[in-house]
Symmetry: C2
Subunit: 192 residues, 2 copies
């Protein structure tokens, strides 16, 4: 097949739709982030890329803490809004009717309406160019009880949103099951 060279770019998919929270001057603010993921298992760490000029970044620097909140599909408008408007100009908590709570860190605001909330303390920050990459130790994961099944997170209930940016920027929920992990691959033999 013919490969076309697109130049250096940012085409990794699917990306998540995350709301990253921080207290800026003591007041909770949230921004939408697609460039975040887990960075380490033991101990658990999360990494989020935040553009240098973002208002939320002030709060991360002030407290060295942040939260990662995973909105359900029914919060798609709120998730998008938090990526359009700056906390410097609007009270996003008020506009979105978010109920904010705090966990053990005390300075990482979390959104009660989001099914999953990770509170993180900053371990590393890397200034990479347009963005800072913040790597935080996950100090606690809070999950709304309605999104658990037999004590475990149930992603069929959570309905997380993927952010897809090419050719048009849009949000999707997860679709068809393609296979069980660590099982479907066993059908491939050989190479030993």
């Amino acid at each position: 097949m013919v490969k076309v060279q697109m130049g250096p770019g940012t085409s990794i998919y699917p990306m998540p739709t995350l709301l990253v929270g921080a207290n800026v001057d003591g007041k909770p603010n949230f921004m939408t982030v697609a460039w975040g993921n887990i960075a380490n298992a033991e101990p658990p760490m999360a990494a989020v890329a935040i553009r240098v000029k973002r208002y939320t970044r002030i709060g991360i620097e002030q407290n060295k803490t942040f939260s990662v909140n995973i909105p359900s599909a029914d919060l798609v408008k709120e998730a998008d809004y938090c990526g359009i408007v700056s906390g410097a100009k609007a009270d996003k908590v008020q506009a979105c009717h978010f109920t904010v709570f705090y966990g053990k860190l005390g300075t990482a605001p979390m959104i009660e309406q989001c099914p999953i909330n990770l509170e993180c303390s900053v371990l590393h920050s890397l200034e990479l160019g347009s963005h800072f990459l913040y790597i935080g130790r996950v100090e606690e994961v809070h999950v709304s009880s309605d999104y658990l099944t037999e004590g475990s997170i149930d992603l069929d209930k959570v309905k997380p949103l993927a952010f897809m940016a090419e050719p048009s920027q849009q949000y999707h929920t997860m679709g068809e099951l393609q296979g069980k992990a660590f099982r479907i691959g066993l059908e491939i033999k050989g190479g030993k």
Copy 2:
């Protein structure tokens, strides 16, 4: 709503299903990675978390280059296989019938069958605990011509896979459109 504390954990969703490539002792190898994303926009960078003991990591250290390959849903078996089997014990390229190609870096093997391939040169590596986080500058993005529409990546054609780990580990394609980004959020007023 009642929040349940799950302890520190790695619950960020959706995660992508990526095949990270490296030449180990001059021979191409690929492993499945769910913990990867973009880390910077200008210049474009990708970050991937690789468990310390992984065979692929030897190759990343040898060449200071790696690739990120995005499998389409029709490669779900191959994607899963590359996460089950170690390159120390099997020739995964042969087992999966991958056609390998190289780009401008020369040492970052890429999979022709994957619609999107990013070739990366390592800028930073962080030993975080169980994993190393490798941050690589994206030197080129290669896209199979059949997955382009009017010159742009068409994710409806790419059909990338999400890895969902709770409660069961499985792969999904993207589902229903929930809204256009930077538009649906405009419906939220106030807070100014």
